[in-house]
C-alpha cells in the first residue's frame, strides 16, 4: 500500500514517505470538488458534505464600516475586505452588482487578482482543523477544453500549492471520472460520466475503471446564463437567480405569468437544449476518434453537477440524445443519486481506495 500513498504529494514535509509511519486511525480521507460555482468537500469522518459558494464581493470599508457586516461572512486580506460565499451572491443581487468569481470556465480566473487568496481561505476554512490528522485529498480538475485555449496545468498547480500550504496530502482526479467512481460500481466502473458544472461541461468515458478519454467544453451553466442575459440585456446573476428559483424544464415556461420572467425562462430553456446538443455531438466525435475498443456490454450515461439540478433536465437530455445516432449502445441514462455532491463523493471513494481506508 505504501506505493499507493506515495501517489499523494506531501508538501508540508516535502517527504512522501513520512506518511507511512502514521497510524491509520488518524488518517482522514477527503474528496474536494473544485467547481466554478461551488466548492464541495466530502470527508471520511463526516456524513455531511461541506459546501461553499465559490464567489466573493469586494467591499470598500471606508464606505461601509465593518460593524455593518455583523451577520455576513467575510474575510480580510491585507487592506481588502471580501464578503464571501452565499452572502456575496445575495449582496450582489441586492445592489445589482456583478459578483466576483475566483474561477471562471472551470479554472482559476486570470481576471481576479485576489482569486487565489480567496480560494485558499475558503478551502482552509472548509478543512477546519486537521493539525492532528494525516489528511489525504483527491481534488477535481477539468479535462482540457476542446473549445477553449487554456491549459489546466496552472490551475492544477495552484491547488497543489493551496492544499500543500494547508497541510493536506493531495492528488488530482478528472472531474467526470469522479462521477464514474461514485455512480458506476455495479457496471464495474464502466460508463460515461458527464458533469454539467457552472463553468464547464466535463465528460469522461471509462471502461472498467480506466479512463478511455476525457474532454471538456466551455458550454455549461454559465454559458447558458450569459447567452440568456445577453439576449435579454440583463446581468448574468439576475438570470442565475431566476434560473435557480423558477426554471422547470418539465413544466416549461408557458405557465409563468410574469412576462419578463417568462421571457428569461424561455431563453434559458432554449439554451439548455443547445448546450445538451453541443455536448452530445462532441461526445460522439470524441468517441469515434479516441475509442478503439469493442464493448460487448451496453454502458450507462450518468449525469451529475449543479447545472443538472434543474427539474426536467434528465428528460430533456434523453429527448435530445434521441435525435443523434450514437456509436455505442446505452444501457440507461440516469442522474447521479446526489447530483451536486456526486463528484466529491467519487473523489472520496478514490482517496479511500488509494490509501486503503474503509
Amino acid at each position: 500500500m505504501s506505493d499507493i500513498i506515495t501517489d499523494f504529494i506531501d508538501d508540508k514535509n516535502e517527504n512522501k514517505k513520512t506518511s507511512k509511519s502514521k497510524s491509520s486511525s488518524k488518517k482522514l480521507a477527503c474528496g474536494l470538488d473544485i467547481g466554478t460555482m461551488t466548492l464541495i468537500l466530502s470527508r471520511s469522518d463526516s456524513e455531511s458534505a461541506i459546501i461553499t459558494r465559490n464567489m466573493f464581493l469586494e467591499v470598500d470599508t471606508d464606505e461601509v464600516p465593518i460593524t455593518e457586516f455583523s451577520d455576513l461572512k467575510y474575510v480580510k486580506a491585507d487592506d481588502n475586505t471580501y464578503i464571501i460565499g452565499d452572502d456575496a451572491f445575495k449582496m450582489a443581487n441586492l445592489f445589482n452588482k456583478k459578483v466576483s468569481r475566483p474561477m471562471e470556465q472551470g479554472m482559476i480566473s486570470p481576471n481576479e487578482i485576489d482569486a487565489v487568496d480567496v480560494l485558499a481561505l475558503m478551502i482552509k476554512n472548509m478543512f477546519c482543523d486537521i493539525k492532528d490528522k494525516d489528511a489525504y485529498c483527491s481534488y477535481s480538475v477539468p479535462a482540457e477544453a476542446i473549445d477553449m485555449d487554456r491549459s489546466v496545468t496552472y490551475h492544477s498547480k495552484v491547488f497543489t500549492r493551496i492544499l500543500g500550504a494547508i497541510g493536506v496530502n493531495h492528488t488530482s482526479c478528472n472531474e467526470a471520472m469522479a462521477v464514474i467512481y461514485s455512480e458506476c460500481q455495479k457496471e464495474q466502473f464502466s460508463g460515461i460520466g458527464i458533469s454539467f458544472g457552472a463553468g464547464m461541461c466535463n465528460v469522461c468515458c471509462s471502461y472498467k475503471g480506466v479512463e478511455a478519454f476525457t474532454f471538456a467544453t466551455s458550454r455549461s451553466g454559465d454559458w447558458i446564463d450569459t447567452q440568456a442575459s445577453n439576449s435579454l440585456n440583463m446581468t448574468p446573476n439576475r438570470v442565475t437567480n431566476i434560473k435557480e428559483k423558477y426554471l422547470d424544464l418539465d413544466k416549461g415556461f408557458f405557465t409563468e405569468k410574469n412576462k419578463k420572467r417568462r421571457r428569461v425562462l424561455e431563453a434559458l430553456t432554449y439554451y439548455y437544449g443547445a448546450m445538451m446538443d453541443y455536448t452530445i455531438k462532441n461526445l460522439i466525435n470524441q468517441f469515434e476518434e479516441n475509442f478503439e475498443l469493442e464493448i460487448d456490454d451496453d454502458i450507462p450515461i450518468v449525469i451529475a453537477g449543479g447545472t443538472s439540478l434543474i427539474p426536467g433536465f434528465l428528460e430533456l437530455f434523453k429527448e435530445t440524445i434521441k435525435k443523434h445516432e450514437l456509436p455505442f449502445e446505452i444501457s440507461e441514462i440516469r442522474m447521479a443519486k446526489e447530483p451536486q455532491t456526486a463528484i466529491s463523493r467519487g473523489l472520496l471513494i478514490k482517496t479511500m481506495s488509494d490509501i486503503g481506508l474503509k
Binding site: E47, V75, A120, N125, E338, I349
Partner: protein
Amino acid sequence: MNTQDDIYMRLIIKERGHVINIPGYPTLRSPCKINVDSMNLSVLISQLKQVGVTNFLIEENRDLNEPKKKRPILTKAARVVKAIKEDDSPEYILQNDKGTQVELQRMAKQIKDLQNMIQTLVDKPTHVPTSVSKKTTPVYERPVDDTPPSYKKPKKKQVVEELDDDAFIPEISFDGMEYSPGDSITETVEIDNNLDEEISGLSKIRGKE
C-alpha cells in the same frame, strides 16, 4: 485513304521568337504547332507574312487525289444563327472541330494500347525458372502474411503540452488574513456515506486489493 475524320491541316513554325496573332486563335509564341484546318490558307499565309514569319510549314493529310470537299454555303444570316446555336456546345465542337476529333482519336488509341498491354501482362504466365544454375541466398525474407490488410483510422495527433515546472505559481500565505467572527462560511448537506461497496469494488478493479 483518309476518312473524313482523319483530315487535318497543321501549321508548324520552328523558328523561335515570333509572336503570332491568327484571327480566331489565341496569341501564339513560336516555335509552335497548331491545327488550322478551319482557316483559309491564303488568309493564314498573309497573316504570317504580316508578322514576319517566313519559315513555316503547313501540313495537310488530305488525299491529294481526292477532290477537296466543298464546304456548304451558308448565307450570312444562317451563319450567325449557326454560330449562336452551335458554336459553343460540346456536341458542335466534337462534330465540327477536326483538331478535337483527331486528339480524341489519338487518346482512344492510347487507351486501347494500354488495355492491350495490361491484357498481355495478365495473360502472361509467371516466370518459372527451369533450371537453377546458381544457389541464391535471400537477402531479406519477408514472412508470408495471409491476413487481409486492416485499415485503421489515422489517430488524430494530440498536442501534448509539456509541463513547465518553472511556471509561475503564486505563493500561498495565510498571514494577514482573518475571518469574520461567528459562523463558518460553509453549509453542510447530508450525503450517502456508505461507501464500502464502491471502495472495495474500485480497489479490486484497480488491483489494489
